[in-house]
């Protein structure tokens, strides 16, 4: 492993109650991810990739095992500590963009900075930087319904990246995009990964995304099937 680990997963198991029984989504997962990795969980629906991403993102907790993200044990975090971890260190990119429809592009990207209490002038500079990374400085006053799908996802990337997080989690980020837009988005993320040394973790079964990954963790029925690392 060429990067120091920022995510350490040991014997992770996750079960969900289903009536009187329970459904095990993840079994015995042990993985490490270092800083600056561009990796993804690959597998069919139900393989457990989104559940794993949610646990790494402190949106869910392990049933057993240990998950350390940036030194924080996910299972032991209070709701407030988990929120703080997400606020300060994690960025999320969703399949369906999930932008705030009534707010402008600028305001959507600015929102994470408001939670971090940056001064107005600092916020403006950081938002403009983030929009420049994704090539949307001419759309700052537009609202999401006025943008194309590709533009919306670029806004979502700017929102995830504006606070320069250590880790970005992207769940099927190209699922709603055509091929051209998908490549455009992925190239932007590769560029940000290289320039800012941000770790990107994907949950995907899209070949276009898989093609860009430098580490591919294949999941099948909640277990690791393969873990492949490719040179830069």
């Amino acid at each position: 492993m060429e990067h120091p680990p920022i995510i350490q997963i040991e014997h992770l198991t996750k079960s969900f109650p289903m009536g009187k029984a329970s459904f095990t989504a993840l079994t015995g997962i042990s993985l490490n991810f270092g800083k600056g990795e561009f990796a993804g969980f690959i597998g069919p629906s139900g393989s457990g990739k989104t559940t794993l991403l949610n646990i790494i993102g402190s949106l869910d907790v392990p049933t057993s095992g240990e998950v350390l993200v940036l030194g924080n044990s996910i299972g032991g975090l209070t709701a407030r500590q988990a929120a703080r971890l997400r606020k300060e260190n994690l960025g999320f990119i969703f399949q369906s963009y999930n932008l705030l429809a009534v707010h402008t592009v600028f305001e959507n990207v600015e929102f994470p900075l408001l939670l971090l209490n940056y001064a107005a002038s600092e916020r403006r500079r950081m938002v403009m930087d983030a929009l420049e990374w994704v090539g949307l400085t001419d759309k700052i006053k537009s609202k999401p319904p006025q943008l194309s799908g590709g533009e919306c996802q670029r806004v979502a990337i700017a929102r995830a990246m504006v606070k320069k997080p250590s880790l970005v989690l992207a769940d099927e980020p190209t699922a709603n995009l055509d091929a051209a837009n998908s490549h455009n988005i992925l190239q932007t993320m590769v560029k940000l990964n290289r320039e800012l040394n941000t770790t990107f973790l994907f949950a995907t079964h899209d070949d276009k995304v898989i093609g860009y990954l430098r580490r591919k963790v294949y999941l099948l029925d909640g277990k690791i099937d393969k873990d492949e690392v490719f040179p830069n």
Partner: protein, 426 residues
């Protein structure tokens, strides 16, 4: 952050316009109903006080025990002397001696034979003294339909309906046939100076109003009066104040064993009035509480629907790192803003409707026709805008909105983050 929230609130019409309309409607109804009920209750109480019960009433103990029979044989004999002492001991109260009586009004033709007759409820008031307030208290000038007010002894007013029924015009002579306080027959001639209409069925049916001096003369009641009514100079009844006066008067003037000694009653001691006073004093609170509960339920549901619609937004905010408590608080801040805006709009509209009802009134004469209740019901209902109407809407408007949001917000708050996140993706 507040600016961010405010922008979202203004731009998202379903988060602002619809809840504001709901709050405004509720507040408008609260304000209007409060003004309407206050007007109705106060009108009923004050109308009854002015014409019948007084805010305070002094009678002999025996008269008080049989007041519904108007037993003038049990009247206060030295009413003039008692009036002098009352004016000295209770100068802050406006005192008025009155005689109620019943009788037959006979209208003669040119030959002196009976042309028409009708039963009358008579009221002897001080109409001719220089310092009398009875004319204003009973609003006689404004109630005049034809003719003028009595200007000298021997003149009387008839209710307009009664005069029409008897075919009597101002200037005509009528004869009152009744009984003296000693049980003898009383016959007394009045010249009708004018006719009045009070807008109250109980009074307009068959009333004769004359100066108390004439009535004392007619009924052989020199210096006597059936009752002495007291009125607070502020114009409105106050039960606490009345209780204090009652204690002072009865301690000083009333002797328990003497049935002819005077006794003071409060307006609330008189038939049917206690409940009305109770309702009038608490109606504002009752109306506010009812609307607050109703609006809380409506806004709770509106909040739930809004919350469901905002699952996506809430999920994103959680994912970005906003704490659940912070999201919950921002929802409460939003609800305060919506509550305030809706309340201002609702109060303005509610006051406008109340002002219309206060100014123009609503004629419900058709429904009160034939009414003979002890409490007088005005034929024209008017709202009464009080200071409370300017702020009372804020209680249901803001509190209900906050309660509604708080209740609906708990549902979202209790869902775990992963669940919200999952719903975000669907």
């Amino acid at each position: 952050m507040i600016g961010f929230l405010f922008k979202g609130l203004i731009r998202d019409k379903s988060r602002s316009r619809l809840p504001i309309i709901v709050v405004a409607i509720g507040v408008m109804l609260s304000v209007f109903m409060h003004a309407y009920i206050t007007g109705l209750m106060v009108d009923m109480i004050e109308l009854t006080a002015r014409f019948s019960s007084g805010h305070l009433k002094i009678m002999t103990r025996a008269y008080a025990d049989n007041a519904d029979q108007i037993p003038n044989d049990l009247a206060i004999l030295d009413a003039d002397g008692l009036m002098q002492r009352l004016k000295k001991d209770f100068p802050e109260i406006d005192w008025a001696a009155r005689i109620r009586f019943g009788g037959l009004v006979d209208v003669p033709d040119s030959a002196g034979e009976t042309r028409a007759q009708g039963p009358a409820m008579g009221l002897g008031l001080d109409l001719l003294s220089k310092d009398t307030h009875e004319t204003d208290r009973l609003n006689l000038r404004k109630s005049l339909v034809r003719g003028r007010l009595p200007g000298s002894r021997g003149e009387a007013l008839l209710s307009e309906n009664f005069s029409r029924k008897l075919k009597v015009n101002p200037g005509d002579q009528v004869t009152l046939i009744g009984s003296t306080m000693n049980g003898g027959m009383a016959i007394y001639n009045f010249t009708v100076s004018g006719t009045v209409r009070f807008g109250t069925t109980a009074l307009d049916r068959g009333t004769l109003i004359a100066d108390i001096g004439d009535v004392q003369h007619a009924l052989d009641m020199p210096a006597a009066a059936g009752e002495i009514d007291g009125y607070f100079t502020e114009g409105f009844y106050d039960d606490d104040e009345a209780t204090a006066y009652l204690g002072r008067f009865n301690d000083r003037y009333s002797a328990g064993g003497d049935e002819f000694s005077p006794v003071m009653l409060r307006l609330s001691d008189q038939e049917g009035m206690k409940m009305y006073i109770f309702l009038a004093e608490r109606m504002g609170g009752i109306v506010t509480l009812v609307f607050m509960i109703a609006m809380s339920l409506v806004l709770w549901n509106a909040g739930l629907l809004g919350g469901l619609r905002r699952y996506g937004e809430i999920g994103v905010r959680l994912a970005i790192g906003e704490e659940k408590g912070h999201i919950y608080r921002t929802m409460i801040y939003e609800s305060v803003m919506i509550g305030m805006a809706g309340t201002v709009v609702g109060t303005i509209i509610g006051l406008s409707f109340a002002w219309l009802l206060q100014t123009y009134g609503l004629d419900i004469g058709a429904f009160t026709k034939g009414s003979s209740a002890a409490v007088m019901m005005p034929d024209v209902i008017r709202a009464r805008i009080t200071l409370a109407d300017y702020y009372i809407g804020f209680i249901p408007g803001v509190i209900s909105t906050v309660i509604g949001t708080a209740l609906s917000g708990i549902g979202i708050y209790r869902r775990n983050t992963a669940q919200l996140f999952k719903e975000l993706e669907t």
